[in-house]
Symmetry: C2
Subunit: 248 residues, 2 copies
């Protein structure tokens, strides 16, 4: 029997105002298109066993000393002790299949931990958009789309991705919103979707990545539905589920 009461949908456009949107009953989708959540989705598509997100450089270093494979960077630069950085191309099957990877990034990891009080913390990107929408529609709880952003500033690519997801959720008829950030993100997605790759070139993050030679992943990160896996956070670890299964 369908619940006729519509579910709350909100978009949080920066971690700086996460507390305004936080509710324990929320299903929270963390979105960091360039590049953390795109890389996490790619890693699961390529068969990683689990990913352990850590918040600090020091924790990442300790995990490396304990024998883990470590992906870690700050401000786009790979840390000296790490095995590799944050590009989705690093999370190839030959490097990650069947492995446990420790992962620390500038913005994405922090948001996962901030939201960990919630009913569920899911990892979203353009790469798993449709699977994620289907999963969320099949649940029965309010949804918060949480843009990781860049150093607490408004981030265009994360907001556009939130808009793509919000549009699918609103079209299901199950959700309602009185959140201006939902309206804005859906409107920005309506402008971006006719040529997402071209639109993505307008983002400030494209410029920041390009200045470090790291913008080769722009097109990859803006493709829809590369995988139907939905990474989620549980007991300090990221695992993945697909629709109808509790775990990959």
């Amino acid at each position: 029997m369908m619940n006729t009461k519509k579910r709350r949908l909100e978009v949080c456009i920066t971690p700086a105002i996460y507390d305004k949107h936080a509710h324990d009953e929320n299903l929270v989708v963390v979105i960091d298109v360039l590049r953390a959540t795109s890389s996490i989705c790619t890693a699961f598509a390529n068969g990683v066993d689990r990913i352990i997100p850590v918040a600090t450089v020091e924790e990442a270093r300790q995990k490396k000393e304990a024998g883990y494979i470590v992906a870690s960077e700050r401000d786009g630069y790979v840390l000296d002790f790490a095995d590799f950085g944050n590009s989705p191309f690093n999370f190839s099957a030959d490097k990650v299949k069947g492995k446990q990877i420790v992962y620390s990034t500038t913005n994405g990891t922090r948001c996962i931990h901030m939201a960990s009080h919630s009913q569920e913390v899911l990892i979203g990107s353009f790469l798993n958009l449709s699977a994620l929408a289907k999963y969320l529609i099949a649940q029965d709880a309010p949804v918060l789309l949480f843009c990781a952003s860049w150093k607490d500033r408004f981030s265009l690519e994360d907001t556009v991705c939130a808009g793509a997801l919000a549009e699918l959720l609103l079209n299901s008829g199950q959700f309602e919103s009185i959140c201006d950030a939902v309206t804005a993100s859906v409107d920005l997605w309506s402008l971006a979707k006719t040529n997402l790759n071209s639109y993505s070139l307008k983002t400030a993050q494209k410029g920041r990545l390009a200045s470090k030679g790291l913008d080769d992943c722009m097109e990859f990160c803006h493709q829809l539905d590369f995988t139907n896996l939905i990474p989620y956070y549980t007991n300090g670890t990221l695992l993945a589920k697909s629709m109808g299964h509790s775990e990959k």
Copy 2:
């Protein structure tokens, strides 16, 4: 002689991240379309002598006891000791002409005080859009468009107004931006401007005002260029200038 170095343009979409955008050399435009900055522009158009913005209810009460006319509200409700509230229709010539008004509101006043370290703090709304753009273009300092928002959340009407102003500034060729909030606000304005009154009905603030019977000012606040006066903050007081004059 024109300075050939382009000037920085940024949009701050919530006071919660004002510190990321704050620079002493900034010309800051505080935007609170519904309704503080629209009301301030209206008051000057109707001949108010000066407006004294105060941050707290207690300060507003003390000013009332000292004999001032006080406009004050919290969450849309007029405070019991105040002469009137925050609707632009309250700031009519018969009430404000030649007078000094003390003004305290939920979001707008706070932002004016937050930005008071800056080179200039100006008051912006759709009502003085073109005059403000002309004035800013004629200066030689970076510009920050500061959306007062609603309780630190993303606010659609303030962001769209910032986009309208940003478009005029960017079209002058004098400004450059690597700020995603500029791009997003200009894009949202591009969707809104063909029918601004219709677009404004999508805002969450419209619903909040309507629930209190306060949405009669929607159309008024979304009209362009009602006045060519530019209110500005100096020594604890709001005065107004027009292009070419230092004071009204």
